[in-house]
Symmetry: C2
Subunit: 367 residues, 2 copies
Amino acid sequence: VTLDLVLVGFGNVARRFVRLVEEKRQGLARDFDLRLRIVGIITRRHGTAHSSRGLDAPGLTERLESGRLVGKTDNRPSVRVLRDHLARHAASARTRRLVVVETTTLDVGRGQPAVDHVRASLSAGAHVVTANKGPVAIAYRDLMRLADAARRRFLFEGTVMDGIPIFNLARETLPVVSVTGFRGVINSTTNFILTAMEGGETFSDALSAMQKAGIAEADPSLDVDGWDAAAKACALANVLLDARLTPSTIHRRGIRDVTSEQVAAARRMGRRIKLVASAARRDGKVTAAVEPVELPSDDLLAGLERQQNAIIFHTDVLGELAIVQLGAGLTQTAYALLSDLVTIARDIRPAPRRARPGRSLGWRGQR
Amino acid sequence: VTLDLVLVGFGNVARRFVRLVEEKRQGLARDFDLRLRIVGIITRRHGTAHSSRGLDAPGLTERLESGRLVGKTDNRPSVRVLRDHLARHAASARTRRLVVVETTTLDVGRGQPAVDHVRASLSAGAHVVTANKGPVAIAYRDLMRLADAARRRFLFEGTVMDGIPIFNLARETLPVVSVTGFRGVINSTTNFILTAMEGGETFSDALSAMQKAGIAEADPSLDVDGWDAAAKACALANVLLDARLTPSTIHRRGIRDVTSEQVAAARRMGRRIKLVASAARRDGKVTAAVEPVELPSDDLLAGLERQQNAIIFHTDVLGELAIVQLGAGLTQTAYALLSDLVTIARDIRPAPRRARPGRSLGWRGQR
């Protein structure tokens, strides 16, 4: 199978994705009979590129990183540029081989223009994989209905805990289990800041460190005021708990008011302050919240250092289980996009060759 | 799809499985179009039952628990009894609808008679799901080859961390990722004992408590001398790292020599002693070990209380990620068998109806 990819957004994640695709080219072909061809790149300020035979995406990545444009600029709204691109690939859309890879930045209020990108793509017969939290946090149900009607995939593994397969885990591996709620630390920047404050650093020094490392969102408010965690909590609640929440309507308190004194006082008592995102269904109604919570030391979430993330799922049959991310970064998010593409490829060709075990875990078991 | 099940072994796990099947009957039918019919039960000492139209398995469960036989006793070796059962179901075997549910007790040396049960089943065209660690720890590669040749499934999700989807996770959700090693606390009894010793209890009191709760293996040596952890470590290494290990050939030290003084001394230093199972591939060779290790407090494994389990996977693309089991028990193991049966049903009917999201996570995404 060859999938044709149109990249909307060409920031850090998308560029790491392009390189990861190169690095994993052989493995994808061998284990999944999957070839990925990047046929379009749409950026807001750095131009637009297109080639039906496939772009030199690594070359364009270098171009952009050396400060040049990837192609001509196009001043129209991005969704119109995208529609033009999609129209050129009607043939691969018809054979379900066209995928839009959406990595524009988060608009936590309305999810735009990402929601429009997703809609336009599905309507044109393209699958969508995205690392942008907006669409799934704000318009999950509508977009899923659209995807179902179009018989195309709308996948978003990278939106929560990067490449750790949260949504995939629930979708593929927990039949008959109902998730009744969750509790987690899902924003790396605030956890890093809180950990650093325990070590005596100031809030603002710790924040600058995260911005320099490229981990913090460009707009610090997204992290510090709990918006990023709220968007992830809504994504999880909408998908796993069948909720209809949006980030601006849930209870949300960030860490701006948490003082070094509070952090130190908790630490002296063997406790730790963490920004906890949670959701639960009670009497048929789902509520979610993001807020700083002082946790006892034997709480799994209390043990998370620096950028570590974890989610504890409450389930009916399996009790509580947790997924912990001990290492995070761009590569993990880029990987999430790749794993979503493999999911699409498996739909098209449901019984891929079994990979050599131990080399890659992509084998789907014997048939 | 209706799957016909022959249960080999009818102990705690199998009986909880029978009840779970009853409890989840509606959900399985609605979400997976799956009906389960128990057509045979084979026990070592409590008789054998058979009905092609389906046994009253809950009734037989009660029978056995009130001290009666489930049917006539048969003194031949269990594998011969099983072959007779399999022969009666050639039609469902031919249509890939026959499954042997293997839950006999662990023989950590040779894995018998479980290995023979698996072989006989696959050879007769039945799938096998098992919670017995022996076959996958001792004969994984042979059995997998046999399963591949027979085009039947050999599944064993319940062998490690009960119903937490360890093998499923790796098989279904981590394409292109290579696992390079792991480190985990995977035996509940020893972790309970070590935690209790920290609280001042003696080794033997803690062990009796676990035996009374039905958590400890009947033969305490399996837990205390690290055999259970070794079998699980081999299962993980054989499947995820393409190893050819067996429990009796890996480095193994149990917790018998760990004294209350050592546990207390570690605790005073803020450290904790845990029975750690680990494996890694170095220079193409996989080694595994089970041994008590004194861990610093910021190690995820150090935070595990009582019966909690966790495995930290080392991967190439995703760095380290961990799965933590916060609640364990018979229901979880029984659930693992059920989830393996859903995997088989999905093979037969690869695009089941989408379940209502939030009710069950069994939906497989839109197509």
